[in-house]
């Protein structure tokens, strides 16, 4: 295998980022390989395995788990269109069709007779699918090999739906009629910042610099604005005192579960024989959530400052930023920011004379939602399939990365730490409400006039105020139907419902947007992604879109989620296609019940809650489409060709080679 020197140097550099385990470099090496060669050949798999001292199957497992990796080439220009709910509501299905039409791609082209690893005879005489078994979403390539198009799951820019990625370039608010232009997109055409003045109801803390006039993401700009001063302040404090401040601040994790950050940090035992690691979870992929992307792109040094303070507080001298693979530009920006911070002495040995050493590296994912789950993330960072770990015993604070104490925090949470140092824990706790302190970035998408991100004090506004005041209300002539309040996993809330809270009963519009109120209403604040649906939306189709997401993203490790997520999708597929039977709504709900609470990780709940809540709250829509007395006939399980292919069983009279010649020599009589 002839590897160019440049690539080899990059590979060795990537391996050096993982001093504890070379295996962790698996994903970075696969990215480098695919960037250079366009796809990952079997030869590449073997080469990488050998380089890292692994078995080839260890690498093959990764290539087939992470959908961003391809085993055969895509088109020279590869376009990824976001398929998930907010983009689908904004027309991404039609967008994909229009892109395909413009590129001469036949989306209905039959996949070639291929199994996972087949490649070679690329004749390009017709559109063809790149077989991506298990990933669900095939890549379709134009006959001339110039273009290819692929549906991908949530690209975390739901507020500017529909969105697409053209190679590594990101394009928001794509108008359907502009589809052909994507084919010729230049780097300068890529959109990212959307200049929008903060709404008066906002309290910009973490998002202070987002869309700010004259703001750039380089370190000089950050330093001019008083950047890294809080770090210096933190170095004047004892690490335990910082943990104490964070406890006092009442900061709850911004990733989705809302676990108190200071308590999490308190689980770390200091002075043990093992090192402590900190990981920034920048795998933002909960549909409806799009906040971390903006911090990374526009204010990376805020994140780094928060991270360095946090590492100092928990005693970590090695940290990683696990950024989702679909943020290639974000990864580059972070790399640049890290280099800047290193050159200014904010990283490395003896940071600003404090005696504290720290290295931070960027680690890219490759398209797996499950990496947002902290133990799945850790497995992924260790170079494995992102299978979440069982808890007990594998609590990250005790047995995390490389079985060492590990803290995993969300991007926004780590940014908040910087502000807690600046304003003290007590000062931070004054924002928001008791037990719901600080600010929250609400990401609103779907059927509102002004979707986008809005940073507000937690609990400072109600759902109604958010939708009607801040986001400008619904579109002309529409009425509110439903809201998913905290990312797609959160249970849907139905317009017209009332919720019994501790002291009173309130309507949906009067629900206060904080952790506790939304939990009391039977849903959750989650990651802050608010998806609004108006009366034009079909709830069966909406659920089907989410079910497809979860079926695609289930890691497949444990039984209920692996089997149940796809089953729920298949039921809603059939109901949508007109084949629903009377028992389908009940079965759908019961399948979800059998998943939630019975799985290794919270993905079980995440995939079950939408189904449970949609069927419960919009039952009439489900029963309306489930009227058949008997289900439609199923296609035969195997066609005759397949039956013949499967029937390779040799008769007993011709015993197969037992392969004894390859066995260890043993006594024979």
């Amino acid at each position: 295998m002839n590897i160019p020197d440049g690539l080899l140097a990059k590979i060795d550099e990537a391996i050096s980022h993982y001093p504890v385990s070379k295996r962790s470099a698996s994903l970075p090496l696969l990215h480098l390989w695919q960037e250079h060669f366009g796809f990952i050949s079997d030869e590449g798999i073997t080469w990488i395995a050998e380089k890292l001292g692994l078995q080839p199957v260890n690498i093959l497992e990764l290539v087939t788990f992470y959908p961003m990796f391809r085993r055969i080439p895509a088109g020279r220009r590869h376009i990824r269109v976001c398929r998930t709910l907010s983009c689908a509501m904004a027309g991404s299905y039609e967008l994909k069709e229009r892109i395909a039409a413009a590129a001469g791609i036949d989306l209905l082209a039959k996949a070639p007779e291929a199994h996972g690893g087949h490649h070679g005879d690329q004749e390009h005489d017709s559109s063809h699918h790149v077989e991506n078994v298990g990933h669900g979403n095939p890549i379709t390539v134009s006959p001339d090999g110039a273009y290819s198009v692929e549906f991908v799951e949530c690209l975390a820019s739901c507020g500017s739906a529909p969105v697409a990625m053209v190679d590594d370039l990101f394009r928001e608010n794509v108008k359907l009629e502009d589809a052909p232009r994507l084919l010729e997109l230049q780097r300068s055409d890529a959109t990212m910042p959307r200049v929008l003045a903060p709404h008066p109801r906002e309290k910009r803390l973490v998002f202070k610099n987002i869309d700010r006039d004259g703001w750039t993401n380089d370190i000089d700009c950050y330093l001019r604005d008083g950047g890294y001063e809080d770090l210096k302040k933190a170095f004047g404090m004892a690490p335990e005192a910082i943990v104490e401040e964070v406890k006092k601040s009442g900061l709850r994790g911004r990733g989705g579960a809302g676990f108190p950050c200071g308590v999490k940090w308190g689980f770390i035992k200091r002075g043990g024989p093992k090192p402590t690691y900190l990981i920034c979870n920048a795998d933002e992929s909960e549909p409806g959530t799009f906040k971390d992307r903006y911090i990374i792109h526009q204010d990376p040094h805020q994140l780094l400052e928060g991270m360095i303070i946090s590492c100092f507080a928990v005693g970590a001298s090695l940290a990683y930023i696990y950024i989702r693979g679909e943020f290639p530009e974000g990864a580059q920006i972070l790399e640049k920011a890290l280099a800047e911070a290193r050159s200014k002495g904010f990283l490395g040995k003896n940071i600003v004379g404090s005696g504290f050493d720290l290295e931070i590296y960027v680690h890219r994912g490759a398209g797996a939602y499950i990496c947002g789950e902290e133990t799945g993330l850790i497995e992924s960072l260790e170079g494995k399939r992102a299978y979440p770990r069982i808890k007990p015993p594998y609590f990250p604070a005790v047995l995390g990365l490389y079985q060492c104490p590990t803290i995993v925090n969300n991007v926004e949470t780590l940014c908040d730490v910087k502000h807690i140092i600046a304003m003290t824990g007590e000062g931070f706790a004054k924002l928001g409400k008791p037990n719901n302190t600080g600010t929250r970035i609400l990401c609103v998408s779907g059927d509102v006039q002004r979707p986008g991100y809005y940073e507000v004090e937690v609990g400072s506004l109600t759902m109604g105020e958010l939708i009607y005041d801040v986001c400008g209300g619904l579109k002309e002539g529409r009425t509110l139907k439903a809201v998913i309040p905290g990312g797609s996993s959160a249970k849907v809330l139905k317009a017209g419902e009332t919720y019994k809270l501790k002291d009173r009963e309130v309507k949906l519009e009067d629900l206060v947007m904080d952790f506790d109120t939304l939990a009391a209403a039977g849903s959750m604040a989650g990651s802050g992604g608010v998806i609004v649906m108006d009366d034009t939306r079909d709830m069966v189709a909406t659920l089907n879109n989410l079910n497809e997401f979860y079926a695609h993203e289930s890691c497949g490790q444990c039984t209920p989620c692996r089997e149940g997520a796809l089953w729920m999708k298949k039921i809603t597929d059939r109901v949508l296609a007109g084949g629903g039977t009377e028992s389908d709504p009940d079965i759908l709900k019961n399948v979800a019940d059998n998943i939630a609470g019975k799985t290794i990780c919270a993905f079980g709940e995440a995939c079950a809650w939408p189904t449970q809540s949609f069927v419960l709250k919009f039952r009439e829509e489900f029963t309306g489409k489930s009227q058949k007395l008997v289900p439609p006939p199923m296609p035969p399980e195997y066609n005759s060709d397949e039956l013949i292919a499967n029937d390779r069983i040799e008769p007993v009279s011709a015993p197969r080679d037992t392969g004894r010649e390859v066995m260890a020599p043993a006594a024979t009589k």
């Binding site: 079997d42 073997t46 078995q55 080839p56 199957v57 093959l60 087939t64 788990f65 996972g116 078994v133 298990g134 990933h135 669900g136 797996a368 399939r385 069982i390 007990p392 079926a551 993203e553 890691c555 497949g556 444990c558 039984t559 209920p560 692996r562 089997e563 149940g564 997520a565 089953w567 298949k570 597929d573 059939r574 039977t581 079965i587 019940d593 059998n594 998943i595 609470g597 019975k598 290794i600 289900p631 199923m634 399980e637 195997y638 397949e642 390779r648 007993v652 015993p655 197969r656 080679d657 037992t658 392969g659 004894r660 390859v662 260890a664 020599p665 043993a666 006594a667 024979t668 009589k669």
Partner: protein, 558 residues
């Protein structure tokens, strides 16, 4: 295992289905429940492997004692600590018991969980039990009976996966039957240390596979078939040969090396179909090398010796024994040599010592050593299964095989005129066919033709190990028992009976009619067997030699 100096084991109180039990600290919940006669169904859990907790079949309700604010357990009306139940079901395979823990193995919540998991496991399963080799010993079938439901609610097309995949030369995969419990992957990684199986794709499409360039050809690959709880991995050799419920299962031991792995032989009507490992944590754990388990085809070889022969003429047993005795009696002691086998049972070796005594040929006997390479797992360098017994009983030289050069010299000088071989090919003792032709007589007992048998004056057809009862001592000094799973073909007889008759023909001494009596006689003579009988050895054997015989490198025990 002896625990003479063991520290007292700390016991913890655990409530299982309302009844309080005590278990040693460190007991897995799932094992504790089994000990309390509350079996918990499981797929991915295997006591010899790590616990991934992925099948979710072993979910139970679990609770810990309720605590007052000053960390004292709350005592209920019955005087026992009150249990605060965890609202979500918990897996029982990955946690150890703890003081005051409560477990419910059969509550409505637990029943619901099992029903749900069973349904999920079966929706994409092909349900091809009639043609599946695992049928009859399949956990999906077993747990379906107990926890499944009679009808399917699944109206969708099933996920298609590869079938008939040769994962390696000896293991066939049907990925559609696989429930992704990862036992095979963990076995290859953790025990065989050959991480060649992995999972490809994800979600419902996940499939176990090998990289095409690195297949499952490890000598322990068939253990993955043993531990596969369903019909996904099947033994290519055994596949479609016999329904498992027709197999007679005989507990015996492996004779391919000095480890003496415990096995179960599956046979029907005297034909052996497969050999699987049998759990013995003092010997082989639950594993067995492929090379050992597949080495049984010779038992049913049509060329098996079935008829006593004298100068190639068929004779009856009485004639054959009488002629052999006459030949031996006609020679002086110095003209006779005896080659015994390290594959013989203790009982046979004991009778061999009687024969040696009757012939007065002390020091004119030895066994043929078989040396291979130890594999660091279960295959010992000594490929004779009973070298220890042969040494203990004095049939072998202290250094096995060291006297054989005297045999060769004696034959070549003409001093030795008759050789008795009990189950060995003399060409492996250093003699060549010219030497054999030169001998006045060869008395050979064996099961298959070899380079010696054509030269045998008297050929006595004996029994294969699976056709015998008796005992052997492995390299660690453990006395273990062989059991009969099949009858010897034709006129072939049990080796010890042949030896008994031969001794009778020479010396007239008699009195042994049953193998039990033979063992008793041996136990009276050999202090190591004192007080024992064949039945007292039990299925798992007993340590009879304390110090490990030297010269054998330590074998890894799994």
């Amino acid at each position: 295992m002896s625990t003479e100096t063991a520290a007292p084991v700390q016991m913890v109180n655990v409530q299982i289905d309302g009844v309080w039990h005590q278990f040693p600290k460190g007991t897995r919940v799932i094992e504790a429940c089994s000990q309390a006669q509350k079996f918990i169904p499981r797929y991915c859990y295997h006591p010899k492997l790590s616990s991934p907790g992925n099948c979710r079949m072993c979910l139970v309700e679990m609770g810990m004692p309720k605590m007052t604010p000053d960390r004292k357990p709350v005592i209920g009306a019955d005087g026992k600590p009150e249990i605060g139940w965890i609202p979500r079901p918990q897996i029982s395979c990955a946690q150890d018991v703890a003081e005051g823990m409560g477990i419910r193995t059969d509550s409505p919540m637990v029943q619901d969980c099992r029903k749900g998991v069973m349904e999920f496991l079966l929706i994409n399963h092909p349900l091809d039990c009639p043609i599946c080799d695992q049928a009859g010993e399949c956990r999906l079938q077993e747990f379906s009976v107990e926890y499944g439901q009679a009808h399917s609610r699944f109206l969708e097309p099933k996920v298609k996966k590869p079938k008939n995949v040769e994962l390696g030369p000896r293991v066939t995969l049907d990925a559609e039957r696989c429930i992704l419990c990862t036992r095979c992957i963990r076995f290859m990684n953790e025990v065989a240390k050959d991480d060649v199986i992995g999972i490809l794709d994800r979600g419902s499409f996940s499939t176990i596979a090998c990289h095409p360039g690195r297949i499952l050809d490890n000598n322990y690959s068939l253990n993955t078939v043993d531990i596969c709880p369903v019909g996904a991995l099947t033994n290519t050799d055994f596949r479609f040969k016999m329904r498992v419920w027709f197999l007679k299962e005989t507990k015996t031991i492996d004779i391919n090396c000095g480890t003496g792995s415990n096995i179960v032989v599956g046979s029907r009507e005297n034909t052996i179909y497969r050999i699987t490992p049998r759990e013995n944590n003092e010997v082989n754990g639950v594993w067995l090398p492929d090379s050992h388990r597949l080495n049984f085809k010779w038992v049913n070889d049509p060329k098996r010796l079935q008829q006593p022969l004298v100068k190639s003429q068929p004779v009856d047993w009485r004639t054959a024994t009488a002629i052999a005795a006459e030949i031996l009696k006609s020679k002086t002691s110095s003209e006779v040599w005896l080659v015994a086998s390290g594959r013989a049972t203790n009982e046979e070796l004991f009778l061999t010592t009687r024969l040696i005594d009757a012939l007065e040929i002390q020091k004119q006997h030895d066994i043929i050593p078989r040396q291979g390479e130890a594999d660091g797992l279960l295959i010992a360098a000594d490929r004779n299964p009973n070298t220890t017994g042969a040494k203990l009983l004095g049939v072998s030289a202290k250094d096995p095989g060291s006297r054989l050069k005297r045999l060769v010299e004696g034959v070549r000088s003409g001093a030795i005129k008759v050789v008795v071989t009990l189950g060995e090919d003399l060409t492996k003792a250093g003699l060549n066919e010219t030497d054999l032709a030169k001998l006045e007589a060869i008395i050979a007992l064996d099961v298959l033709p070899n380079r010696t048998t054509p030269y045998a004056t008297v050929l006595l057809p004996g029994s294969a190990w699976i056709e015998k009862r008796g005992s052997m001592i492995n390299l660690k000094g453990r006395l273990q028992r062989l059991n009969r799973g099949a009858a010897a073909p034709g006129e072939a007889r049990d080796d010890w009976e042949i030896l008994r008759d031969l001794i009778h023909g020479i010396s007239g001494s008699n009195g042994l009619y049953m193998i039990e009596d033979l063992f008793k006689a041996m136990a009276a003579d050999v202090p190591e067997f004192g007080g024992l009988s064949l039945s007292k050895i039990g299925d798992l054997g007993l340590p009879v030699i304390k110090e490990k015989p030297a010269a054998e490198p330590a074998e890894a025990v799994i």
